[in-house]
């Protein structure tokens, strides 16, 4: 990111936090205006709905333009198509750079669309070229993934898109499935990277978008580590595809190490949760919870303790008991907090809370629940993505 884009990003984070404070009733309109004046915005931004619309129509326009040029050339020749992909891909990345730096656009929809389609065109160009060069299909996929990893990483670093950063590591890890001992890379890489990423995700030296990018990469790394260490993944050979790409084959390390994977399936969620509780890092807490559920499903897959309906019903009942017990435990402490945790909604949580509730609401096809009577002081009336260092670009 350029220096002024980074500064704009930092200012945006402070303004977003102030909006959260205002929505929670911690500050008034005058204070919000004072924060906005102290941390001004020099970017051209759009609201979420307009941003999505502009993003959508920009993607249509780009593909219409490339299709029109292709039709003008009036040739189905592969070389011409490759040239169009290359020229459009490069031009779109240049256009993104111009929008972000010269035109000072941020959260505008169009710059995200040009960057995404540009990367897509260049990835397709790379894959097609590799195929024409006579590489095997497995190696073509590896080349495509490598190109995607580099392009997404570059775009995340330059323009500050956390989603691209996560996608970059997904592509990088996927490459290793094409090679023998790929599982080892899925274990070693995250183990080496996680401590560094956890620090960078909170580093004051990085702008919020880069911190969020590090958090996204950390999340992917931790999920990758869990997948590599899960016993079902090992037994089914999820990370060891045969040369006939999609056909899986059993794990290659032999049955003698199987017990290690059984242990890690149980231990990894516990470690994530422990780290989350100790450091109060949300990503570890969420992944601890998520991988814990995955490990319970794995356990049910191997060991039939009870019929599935009983497992679901009992775990549902246990879940509600745990939620209420935790809530009561936290609420009973002075100031309704223990060890730095509270069950009260806080100002900084608005974006995160909305993501969680929207996800749950989508799952149950319903809107989110009401604010609770017990916490009128902090009950927020909405919120936006973009605070706390996150990006709301998509």
């Amino acid at each position: 990111m350029t220096r002024d884009a980074a500064q704009a990003d930092r200012n945006a984070a402070v303004r977003a936090a102030a909006r959260g404070w205002k929505q929670a009733g911690a500050i008034d309109e005058a204070a919000l205006a004072a924060v906005a004046a102290a941390y001004p915005d020099d970017r051209h931004r759009l609201g979420p709905v307009f941003r999505v619309l502009v993003f959508l129509f920009t993607i249509i326009a780009i593909n219409g333009a490339s299709g029109f040029v292709w039709a003008l050339i009036n040739s189905a020749g592969e070389i011409q198509t490759l040239v169009i992909l290359l020229v459009f891909g490069v031009a779109l990345l240049v256009l993104t750079e111009i929008q972000v730096t010269k035109m000072r656009r941020a959260q505008g929809g169009s710059e995200a669309a040009t960057s995404l389609v540009g990367i897509g065109y260049l990835v397709v160009f790379t894959g097609w070229t590799a195929d024409k060069a006579g590489l095997s299909s497995l190696h073509v996929i590896a080349v495509v993934l490598l190109a995607a990893a580099f392009l997404f990483a570059g775009a995340a670093w330059r323009w500050g898109y956390p989603l691209y950063a996560g996608a970059s590591l997904v592509a990088l890890l996927a490459i290793f499935t094409a090679f023998p001992q790929g599982r080892l890379a899925w274990i070693v890489l995250p183990l080496l990277a996680a401590p560094v990423l956890a620090r960078l995700a909170e580093s004051a030296r990085l702008p919020p978008a880069h911190r969020a990018s590090c958090a996204a990469v950390l999340g992917v790394a931790l999920v990758g580590l869990y997948v590599a260490l899960n016993i079902a993944s090992y037994d089914s050979g999820w990370l060891e595809p045969d040369l006939s790409i999609w056909k899986l084959r059993p794990a290659i390390w032999g049955p003698s190490v199987r017990w290690i994977f059984i242990a890690t399936t149980a231990l990894v969620p516990i470690v994530y949760l422990a780290l989350g509780l100790r450091s109060r890092r949300w990503i570890f807490l969420m992944l601890g919870l998520g991988t814990g559920i995955a490990s319970l499903i794995t356990l049910r897959w191997y060991v039939h303790l009870a019929p599935l309906w009983a497992v679901l019903t009992v775990s549902g009942a246990a879940l509600v008991a745990a939620v209420f017990a935790l809530r009561r435990y936290l609420d009973s402490a002075p100031g309704k907090e223990r060890h730095g945790f509270t069950a009260e909604p806080l100002f900084e949580d608005l974006a995160r809370r909305r993501i969680l509730e929207a996800g749950a609401a989508v799952m149950s096809l319903s809107p989110e629940a009401r604010p609770v009577h017990e916490e009128p002081k902090f009950a927020g009336g909405g919120g936006e993505f973009g605070g706390g260092g996150s990006s709301s670009e998509f």
Partner: protein, 320 residues
């Protein structure tokens, strides 16, 4: 943790922009010294509803022969009644205005109770067929019951369930009986979707106008417009009458976008713009026989739409 915000708070206090008494708490949150798990607890409660309803569904499916239909129906009814009795005892007094939830689990236990009751009714209908050939009416009964629960206990979650069940009743009825009345099932379903959508929009309008549960209005109106636009849009793929449906969709979506623009209703504005563009493209590409210039159309027209959107954003001033 947000170091930029943590750095900014002392400066804002010093400059008088932030009240000093509230700053320490803000600072603790920004430094990651105080973390809320409120959202996580609510998400877990949603998950719990899914788990229990999924478990109950499997129980019914897998143990029908062993337990017997009557026992299952009674068990489901008792479980639903237990949840709803708890809700009724815990709920605050009725009000036409928005009422805060009495506790964290209230909405979720209400949802669970309603879902269990609906499952029980469906099960009774399938096993004992009290409604006979008119079995689709049980969906209307569920819709009415959930709507009553939604209004009494002020739950938007349950209200959305009531609306979707009502729409399902119309859809299933039309698909089942449409051929007798409308000659073609597709037309019957389509007109039912449009009619249902119009009904929801009117309901939302009335709720807001009467200031009775006015906070339910966005749900009713959004679902209503989705049904109307979806119904009109589905007609565009008919071989004979597609042009009429496309023109209707274009006119309706233009009206919606204009109305939403004036009322600053951003999601409805987006619905209108997207649906209008789809209808116009359908008319232009086939009606005006622009097949060969299709790419040019999809190159030029989105740019015009984007220009229009940027102008509209300046007037509507959607917060970034």
């Amino acid at each position: 943790m947000n170091p930029d915000v943590a750095n900014a708070i002392p400066k804002l206090v010093e400059a008088g922009a932030l009240p000093p008494e509230g700053a320490p708490r803000l600072l603790r949150v920004a430094r990651g010294e105080l973390v809320s798990v409120h959202g996580e607890l609510r998400a877990l409660l949603y998950l719990r509803v899914l788990l229990v309803t999924g478990g109950v569904g499997l129980l019914v499916k897998e143990n029908l022969d062993r337990i017997g239909p009557l026992a299952i129906a009674v068990a489901l009814g008792l479980a639903a009644a237990a949840a709803l009795v708890w809700v009724a005892r815990t709920a605050p007094a009725f009000s036409w205005r928005e009422v805060p939830s009495p506790n964290l689990g209230f909405d979720y236990i209400l949802l669970l109770g309603v879902l269990l009751a609906a499952a029980d009714l469906a099960y009774v209908e399938v096993k004992f067929t009290p409604l006979g050939e008119s079995w689709t009416w049980h969906l209307l009964i569920v819709a009415a019951f959930t709507a009553l629960a939604a209004f009494r206990f002020d739950s938007r979650i349950v209200f959305s369930l009531a609306l979707s069940t009502f729409a399902a009743w119309r859809g299933v009825s039309a698909a089942r009986f449409g051929t007798d009345l409308w000659l073609r099932t597709e037309d019957a379903v389509r007109w039912n979707a449009i009619g249902c959508g119009a009904l929801f929009v009117v309901l939302g309008f009335l709720l807001k106008r009467a200031d009775r549960k006015a906070h339910f209005e966005p749900l009713a109106v959004t679902l209503g417009w989705l049904l109307i636009l979806g119904g009109l849009g589905s007609g565009m793929w008919e071989s004979a009458s597609w042009a009429g449906w496309a023109i209707a969709l274009l006119l309706v979506s233009a009206g919606l976008a204009a109305g939403a623009y004036r009322a600053r209703r951003f999601p409805l504005f987006a619905f209108g713009v997207v649906a209008g563009y789809v209808a116009l493209s359908r008319l232009a590409l086939e009606g005006l026989r622009l097949e060969t210039l299709g790419c040019f159309w999809f190159f030029l027209t989105p740019l015009l739409v984007i220009a229009g959107l940027i102008l509209a954003q300046r007037r509507m001033k959607e917060p970034a």
